[in-house]
Amino acid sequence: MKRILRMGTTVLVGASVMAFGALYAAPARAEITSAQLENWHSPADKTLPLEVQARSDARLVDASLTVDGAPAGSATFCEDTAPACDFARAPLPFVTTNYADGVRHLVITVRDSAGDVQTINSDVDVWNNRGPNCSPSCSASLQVGSDQTPGPSPNPGTNNNNGGAEGANESSCKSPRLSMSLAQKPLRVSRGVPVLLKNKSYRFTGRLTCLVNNKRKSAAKGTKIEVRNTLGGKTVRKPSGKVGNGGKITVLLKYPSARTIEFRFTNADGKSSKVRIKVRVAQRKS
């Protein structure tokens, strides 16, 4: 029985080519010639248009693809009405978007009517969620602080994902951690307390993160943050803020008098994280 299998691609996918290769499965009495460079590549994004070429003394039946052991597609080589099918090609596209980024193990199996099977094994690095290429140099910044919670992480670099994927809201946000700070320069700082200008809007920024699958991730966009004011022994609720992209929170507040501002997030389990910022208010001397 003589059989040759070859994997290749017919179309180059995007600009994701980082390495080329070709895979061969040769028959026992193979006549191996120089490899023909095909458009097989890894990492791969979108759809990798694989094509399987097979040869057999018996009638070729089909080719199937598994990815990490799970079926991912199959194709027949010839129509039932075809007089012969001992050498044929079959498209077997690998849709990488169905899988998370990372190395995936592909197994392509070809069957013929004699019941013989042939397999090709290969690893493909799926890479759909990449940042832009910033070769030859990439820069990104981040802020570290001595707070108990991390400060907002400005990362105006080329491709910042700013702390991971979002994925937690009130119902799924375990162990919430809220950080807030005054993002604008106050009038002055008196005994560690920022003094704000009366009735002038000040921007407070921060971030809410949650524990999702034992990993700390940004809270989902739209998660509500409660704002409370305490002055004269009374606490009043103020219009709430919402979490934006990357768990970032921006709230504009203006006050006519000194008070303690409390930012609070409470999840469905009743666990809360709060940040209190005491402010004083003064009028600019004319």
Partner: protein, 162 residues
């Protein structure tokens, strides 16, 4: 400017073993090459925060750098992102105050380097994809300081050209 690199792969022929034939396997190989565009990617994760400096001692925080390069090597550099000179260079500060000891950083298990001096870049052989390198920051505190101290860091990944 996009620079090219050459990756050479060695292909090994896989042996087809028909279900019923017992023919000895044959192996052969060939070299192929392909010109690939230079690619570099850098992602920083959210850093863990320093604990509040309530006492003298050494405090640490860390973050991960996830980077990719198609070049044969790449280097990582961490510098002060706020000041390029002066007394605040490499020092965490709170308003006009600064901590007397510089912030230190290390990549992986390399030695800590103070950020008020030039940083000896950390090099890694490439190519690699989405490799995670842990950056540890260390701040020595001599006595309990008041206030919240911060520092913006600039992390740069670059491809080394041989």
């Amino acid at each position: 400017m996009v620079r090219g690199g050459v990756l050479t792969l060695t292909l090994l022929a896989l042996v087809a073993v028909p279900a019923q034939a017992q023919t000895p396997p044959v192996e052969d190989g060939t070299n192929i090459g392909g010109e690939v565009g230079s690619s570099l990617e850098l992602i920083l994760t959210q850093p863990s925060a320093f604990a509040t400096f309530k006492r003298a001692g050494a405090f640490t925080a860390s973050f991960n750098v996830v980077w990719t390069t198609t070049e044969k090597s790449a280097q990582l550099e961490i510098v002060d992102g706020e000041a390029s000179s002066g007394s605040k260079l490499g020092h965490m500060s709170s308003g006009s105050k600064r901590l007397p000891d510089p912030l230190e950083a290390r990549v992986g298990s390399a030695a800590f380097q103070p950020l008020d001096e030039s940083f000896d870049p950390f090099s890694l052989s490439g190519p690699f994809t989405r490799k995670t390198s842990k950056v540890t920051l260390r701040q020595k505190v001599r006595s309990k300081p008041s206030g919240t101290y911060r520092k913006v860091l600039l992390v740069t990944a670059s491809s080394e050209t041989p």
